[in-house]
């Protein structure tokens, strides 16, 4: 038993570390009703295309809060700069909505899609 533990404990520790370092790919997905980030950006895209700015404002607030929740989970497996870059994109989307500039917002939304797909991969 002692000999087994001697090999199993270091091996399991390394496996656990690898799992933490790759956890982002699973943990970026929604775990409740308040962190449905990707679906919310999809909804925002529709709002912007329909020029429904009041719904877009609500949606972007939801996105901001959802992103904070997701960051807490994925921060151990993703580099800080990448997280800050996505935060910047969300801020620019918010600014575009305030300015009711649908072209700028759509550009940022599609930039965000690209960032999301590369996040924690």
């Amino acid at each position: 038993m002692k000999k087994f533990s001697l090999h199993a404990i270091p091996l399991l520790t390394l496996v656990f570390f690898i799992a933490i370092m790759h956890s982002g790919i699973v943990l970026k997905n929604p775990m409740g009703t308040e962190d449905r980030l990707y679906q919310s950006v999809n909804k925002l895209e529709e709002n912007v295309k329909d020029k429904d700015w009041s719904s877009a404002k609500k949606e972007v607030r939801y996105i901001e809060n959802a992103w904070k929740k997701v960051v807490r989970r994925i921060q151990f497996s993703v580099e800080r700069e990448y997280l800050l870059e996505i935060s910047g994109t969300i801020s620019r989307i918010k600014g575009g909505i305030e300015a009711q500039d649908d072209q700028a917002v759509l550009e940022e939304i599609y930039y965000y899609y690209g960032q999301w797909h590369s996040l924690a991969t």
């Binding site: 270091p10 390394l14 690898i18 933490i20 370092m21 921060q75």
Partner: protein, 243 residues
């Protein structure tokens, strides 16, 4: 947004234990036995581990792969040098004679990239101040100099003087920090009753009063108590303190 303190703490744990696991796997070579390459390699592995812990601008995984890569390659080279004598010589180098019969072998010295001044320093460190006393001096792969002095300059031994000597054997620890090590007592075919009797003969009532106790090779018990009862005569400090 990102909680840097928590992220660094988690990364420190990952880095620390990964380093611990891999250094244990890589064997028990002492620092003094390391070759120049081993030394540089060790520094590189340490540097990657430190970056893994504190550089949040890159993913932990990339640093971790770098760390594991270095550790695996080091292990692979260790295996090759053990299994293949020729490759072992190519990778680690081999000991080189640099002084023979008091004469410096400059060609070998240049091959080892060692200056004559450095050689003399190493010689003096081996307590040899007269190069003519040297029969052989060998530069080892870990950078140390092994010196064989000529027979006429070697100290006299008990054998030379035909003085009989008995094997001294090893001492065995039986108490450490007040805790009796029963396994060691059994090895020396003693029991707790014997130990208690010996302690009482030394004026000690309980094992807990003992910091360290050994059964000496001659079978006698050496005891060091926590209460040393030493006066200020041995206090070497020349300041009041505290510091």
């Amino acid at each position: 947004m990102i909680d840097e303190t928590i992220v660094v703490i988690v990364r420190v744990v990952i880095s620390f234990f990964t380093l611990l696991i891999f250094t244990r796997l890589l064997g028990k070579q002492e620092v003094g036995q390391l070759t120049f390459f081993d030394y540089i390699n060790g520094i590189t592995i340490g540097s990657i581990a430190a970056t893994l812990a504190t550089d949040l601008s890159a993913r932990a995984w990339t640093h971790w792969v770098g760390l594991v890569g270095y550790a695996l390659l080091t292990g692979l080279l260790q295996y090759i040098t053990i299994k293949n004598r020729y490759l072992g010589k190519v990778l680690d180098g081999e000991p080189t004679v640099v002084i023979e019969d008091g004469k410096i072998l400059e060609k070998n010295l240049n091959q080892m990239r060692v200056k004559i001044g450095e050689l003399m320093t190493l010689l003096r460190a081996q307590k040899v101040f007269d190069i003519t006393q040297v029969e052989y001096a060998i530069f080892e792969i870990n950078g140390e100099l092994s010196v064989k002095q000529k027979a006429e300059y070697l100290p006299v031994t008990r054998k030379d003087l035909q003085i009989p000597s008995a094997s001294s054997g090893l001492a065995t620890e039986v108490i450490q920090d007040g805790i009796v090590i029963e396994q060691n007592l059994q090895q020396r075919k003693k029991d707790k009753a014997w130990l208690r009797q010996q302690l009482q003969a030394n004026g000690i009532e309980k094992e807990k009063q003992v910091a360290y106790a050994l059964i000496l090779p001659n079978g006698k018990l050496y005891v060091d108590k926590f209460d040393d009862q030493i006066g200020k005569e041995a206090d070497m400090s020349d300041y009041e303190g505290p510091y």
